[in-house]
């Protein structure tokens, strides 16, 4: 790989490691300093490698530059702050004695601890996702803004406030106490789950970005499964769920970035490796006495990888949705259940259930009704599709609904 290609690649894989280790080294309150050092390290690499060519071991090169820069920073900070911040000086002097530990073990530990620090209940979930993208996934502010469909300023502000809050709370880069892990883990899982959803269903038109988001979520969850303290059944269930859905990544997006609906997907593009991983982790998750929403969603996800249209399959899926709604109700899950119900009990029964939801501001409520009415009452179907069209915001969604309308009127 030429340095033009290897730097972005290394940035993706090494930035988060550097940040996590440096942050632990400097203390969480110096997170900006850690970000600066990590970014500068890559800047220097870009300049130096451009002139001198690639070093034999680029990763080791990055680590050694980062180490030196970190030490220099503390030294400089020490001199600078003698008068104004004696306290910082004390810490700095103590820390200056040793250099950042970039051993694989410490890199791994630091990343895990960083995950818990970022997913702290003191800050909002969306700020957690933002910080996770920035710090653990090495995403640029532009990319994050794109993923959230907002602008740079909003993201900058959001991240700044979140960091301030974490500082106020005196968050440390450490594993939560044993008694705390279970509870804090839920927060971490929620963030990973949102990260994945953001990628899987984001409105952003950048398909590479969306795929990266999903892969990062898978990677973070894999780290949790690989660590004894966090290798819990629900973590395996979440990983399974994401594997099953990610298996269709290549099939669900067309050449021009358009969405390809499930029934039109080329199943030979489904990733069988990911499907079998999903089954493996789902099986690993099926222990103990706790059934989480991730277990149920993963089981539902499994059935989506089986393109059968048998009553037995839909009966099982309906049962899973019923359970899911009882432990984690959401209107969208209920809407999806209505679709499954149509497969089991027919469209009329499903229309009755869907109507109860009355989600009149939701395009998919109308899309579903349009679908269910098709063949029963085409006039109603048309009315619902038109409603859906008026609510749809993305071009891709509008195109798909328009196709349904065209089909119905032909």
């Amino acid at each position: 790989m030429e340095h033009q290609q290897i730097i972005p690649h290394l940035f993706r894989t090494e930035y988060r490691k550097l940040i996590s280790v440096l942050c632990r080294y400097f203390g969480f309150d110096q997170i900006e300093l850690a970000e600066d050092v990590a970014s500068e390290t890559f800047l220097i690499a870009a300049q130096n490698w451009g002139i001198n060519g690639l070093p034999p071991n680029p990763t080791a090169w990055l680590y050694s530059v980062a180490k030196n820069k970190a030490k220099n920073q503390l030294q400089r900070g020490n001199l600078f702050d003698t008068r104004i911040a004696p306290k910082i000086r004390e810490t700095a002097t103590a820390l200056y004695a040793y250099e950042p530990d970039l051993s694989p073990q410490n890199i791994n530990d630091s990343q895990l601890q960083m995950m818990f620090a970022i997913c702290h209940p003191a800050i909002s979930t969306e700020a957690q996702v933002g910080l996770a993208l920035r710090i653990l996934c090495g995403f640029g502010i532009n990319e994050i803004a794109d993923a959230f469909l907002t602008n740079k300023e909003t993201i900058n502000k959001r991240l700044y406030r979140a960091k301030e809050k974490l500082r106020e709370e005196k968050i440390k880069i450490e594993m939560p106490a044993k008694s705390e892990i279970e509870r804090r883990l839920d927060q971490v899982l929620t963030t990973i789950y949102l990260l994945f959803n953001e990628g899987y269903y984001s409105l952003s038109s950048d398909t590479t970005l969306r795929k990266d988001l999903c892969l990062e979520a898978l990677r973070l969850c894999t780290m949790l499964v690989e660590n004894k303290q966090t290798d819990k059944p629900k973590v395996n269930a979440l990983l399974s769920l994401m594997c099953f859905h990610a298996s269709r990544f290549e099939a669900r997006i067309g050449k021009n970035g358009e969405l390809i609906l499930y029934d039109d997907q080329d199943t030979s593009l489904w990733d069988t490796d990911l499907i079998s991983k999903g089954a493996y982790f789902l099986n690993s998750s099926a222990v103990g006495e706790q059934l989480s929403r991730y277990h149920l969603e993963a089981a539902i996800g499994y059935w989506r990888t089986q393109k059968l249209d048998t009553p037995e399959k839909w009966q099982v899926v309906l049962g899973l949705y019923d359970q899911l709604l009882q432990i984690a109700y959401s209107p969208i899950a209920a809407l999806n259940r209505a679709y499954v119900l149509s497969k089991v009990a027919g469209n009329k029964a499903a229309i009755a259930e869907a109507n109860k939801l009355d989600l009149t501001e939701n395009q998919f409520y109308f899309t579903l009704l349009g679908h269910l009415y098709t063949g029963i009452d085409n006039e109603q179907a048309m009315l619902n599709f038109r409603q859906a069209l008026s609510l749809a915001r993305s071009m891709a969604d509008r195109q798909i609904i328009q196709q349904k309308i065209d089909k119905l009127s032909s």
Binding site: S124, T125, E126, D186, L189, T190, L194, N197, Y201, L218, V225, E226, K234, L241, H245, R248, R252, L259, L261, D271, T272, D273, L274, I275, S276, K277, A279, Y280, F281, N283, A286, V287, Q290, L291, R293, E297, A299, Y302, I327, A328, Y329, P331, I332, A333, A334, N336, R337, Y339, L357, L359, E361, N362, Q363, F364, T367, L368, A396, I400, I401, K404
Partner: protein
């Protein structure tokens, strides 16, 4: 693509193996359900964070494939308040039974655009 260090899972499992895994999983799942363990004692995520409220919210949801992928697109329900979101929840068809509860979970705040 992804490198999993879990070796057993990393090779493509045979259909028979998959079948076994899924059977075991469904047995476990049904066992738990039969004991009613998931009700009220389920995942902390569901019970503890069920009403995490940040003002002015969007209720966003998991990758349920049925509608998003089958009928097209992606889903977000916008609710101005948690109460409104809770209103949605009342329409839940399976919650008629006594002792069943409704949880509204607020996962991410909306800027109106998210």
């Amino acid at each position: 693509m992804l490198i999993f260090r879990h070796q057993d899972g990393s090779k493509i499992a045979s259909p028979e193996q998959m079948q076994k895994w899924m059977q075991a999983t469904m047995d476990w799942l049904n066992g738990i359900a039969a004991k009613g363990k998931y009700e009220g004692k389920g995942d902390g995520l569901v019970m503890d964070n069920a009403k995490v409220v940040h003002h002015g919210g969007t209720v966003t949801n998991g990758p349920f494939g049925e509608i998003k992928e089958t009928l097209g697109g992606y889903v977000i329900v916008k609710a101005d308040s948690i109460d409104e979101a809770a209103e949605f929840a009342k329409g839940c068809p399976v919650l008629g039974g006594e002792g069943n509860t409704v949880e509204v979970r607020l996962l991410a705040k909306g800027d109106g655009v998210h």
